[in-house]
C-alpha cells in the first residue's frame, strides 16, 4: 500500500468515526489486507496528519481513548451556532463532586460529603454515571458496603485529556506546622501546637496520609 493511500484511509477513518480511535483500532482496518501497515507506520501517518492540521480549523488530538479530529477552541463561538441548544452547564456541586472523585478516587459518597460539608444529591451521582464520567470501581468494606467511585476514560476524552496527569494540580495544603509554628488563630489564647495535617501531594496522583486522613 502506498503511503499516500494509507494516509488517506486513516484520515478518512478518523474523520468519519464518531469516537476516538486508537492505533489498534486503526490497525484492524487493514486486517484483511495482504500488506498490513505496521504500528509505527500508522503512528508516522498520524504525526503527518497532525502537522497538516496546522493553521486549520480542526486538529487531530490525542485523548485518553485514542485520536480524534476535533474543532479548535478558537472557532467554537461560531461553530456552536450550528446547534440550537446550548451545551449543558454543570453546577458547582456537580463539578466539586466530580473533582473529588477524580482526585481522590476511589472514594465513597460519604467521603465526598465529608469534604464538601454537605450531602451529595443522588442526582449528581446519577448524572455523572450516565455521562460515563465516573464508574463504580468497587465497594468499601465497611458497613453498608458503599460504592467506591473512580473516573473513566470517557471523562478524560470529554475534557480533551490524555491522562489524569494533565489535570490541574490541587493546590498544596499549607503546612500549619512549618509556616506557622506559633500560629495565632486569631484567638485570645495562642495555640502553640497544631494538628499534624501530614499531607503529601503531587499533581495528578494524590496521596494523603496523616491523622486527619483516616479514610480506609
Amino acid at each position: 500500500m502506498k503511503e499516500s493511500q494509507l494516509k488517506n484511509i486513516i484520515e478518512a477513518a478518523l474523520m468519519a468515526a464518531d469516537t476516538a480511535l486508537n492505533i489498534d483500532r486503526l490497525l484492524q482496518l487493514f486486517e484483511h489486507d495482504e500488506e498490513k501497515p505496521s504500528r509505527d507506520q500508522i503512528k508516522e501517518v498520524i504525526k503527518t496528519l497532525q502537522q497538516e492540521c496546522e493553521g486549520r480549523g480542526v486538529e487531530l488530538k490525542r485523548v485518553a481513548s485514542g485520536y480524534r479530529y476535533q474543532t479548535l477552541a478558537d472557532v467554537q463561538p461560531w461553530v456552536v451556532r450550528l446547534w440550537q441548544e446550548k451545551p449543558p452547564r454543570y453546577t458547582r456541586a456537580l463539578l466539586e463532586t466530580l473533582s473529588l472523585i477524580v482526585y481522590r478516587q476511589p472514594i465513597t459518597r460519604g467521603e465526598i460529603e465529608e469534604v464538601r460539608g454537605v450531602s451529595v444529591s443522588s442526582n449528581i451521582i446519577k448524572t455523572l454515571l450516565e455521562r460515563e464520567w465516573i464508574k463504580v470501581v468497587g465497594h468499601k468494606e465497611v458497613p453498608g458496603r458503599p460504592a467506591l467511585y473512580g473516573s473513566t476514560k470517557q471523562f478524560l476524552d470529554y475534557f480533551n485529556l490524555k491522562t489524569l496527569n494533565e489535570l490541574p494540580s490541587l493546590s498544596e495544603l499549607a503546612d500549619l506546622d512549618q509556616e506557622h509554628p506559633e500560629l495565632d488563630l486569631g484567638t485570645p489564647e495562642d495555640s502553640d501546637s497544631q494538628a499534624q495535617l501530614g499531607v503529601v501531594t503531587d499533581s495528578g496522583e494524590i496521596e494523603i496520609v496523616g491523622p486527619s486522613q483516616t479514610r480506609h
Binding site: A16, Y90, S99, S191
Partner: protein, 278 residues
Amino acid sequence: MTDNENTFQDNLQGELPFAVVKGEPMTVPPEDLYIPPDALEIFLDAFEGPLDLLLYLIKRQNLDILSLPVFQITQQYMSYIELMKEIRLELAAEYLVMAAMLAEIKSRLLLPRPVEEDDEDDPRAELIRRLQEYERFKKVAEEINEIPRMHRDTFGVSVIQAEYQHERPQPTVGLKDVIAAFQEVMQRAKMFASHHIDREPLSVRERMSRILTMLNVEDFVEFNRFYNVEEGRSGVIVTFLAMLELIKEHVIELVQSEPYAPIYIKPAVKGPVEEELL
C-alpha cells in the same frame, strides 16, 4: 454562655463591633454582606454548604484562612444562621452542624484552657483543615470547569461517508436452531391448546351463559356463589375467565360497597344481550 448570647444579640443590633478586621473594629457589615431577608433563600442557594459560606465570609474580609479569627467569623456565621431562623427558613442541617461546631470553638476560647490538650481534638485546627481541604477542591473544580470541553469548546468531526453499498452482515443461523425453535413453539402450542381442548366440558362460553342464567333469576348475586368447590381448580378458573369475559363485554358489573366488603355481580343491561348469548 449568656455572655455570648448577649454579645451575639448586640452584634445583630450593630451596637458592638460587628467584626474586628486586622485590628479595626467594624460596626456595620460590609455592604456586600448585607442580605435582604427575603433574598436569604437565594443567598443560601448560592453556597455549596457551610464550608462555602465560611470561605465566603473569610474572603470578603481578605483573611488568610491560617490566621482565621475564629471568634469573629463565628459571630458572623451565627448571625446569618440567626437571620435564617428569623424568616423561619428551613435550615439545612449542615449549616446547623457547622453552627454547633463554631459555637463549640467559641465556648472553648472563652473557657480557661486545660493544660494538656490533645491537638487532634482542637476544633479550630479541625475547622481550618476542613476549610482548606474544601477550598482546594472548590478551586480545582473551577479549574476543571475551564478545561476545554467537548460540545462546549470543541466538537467532534463527523464526516459523512461516501455513498457506498456496504453489505450489512447477515446473521448466521444453523438448521438446528430452526428445528429447536419449531420444537419449542410446538410444545408451547400444545400446552396452549390443552387448555382449550381438554377442558372442553368447562368451556368458558358455556359458563358465561350459566352466570347470566343465574343473574336472570336474581338480580344481585354474591361473587362467591358462582364458584363451585367440587369443580376444582379448573372449574374456578373457567368461572373466573367467564366473569372477566362478561365484564369485558359489558354484560355484567361488579359491585362492592366498601373495601373488603363482599363483591356482588349484577347484570349491566337486561334483555337482548343475554338472549344473544343463550
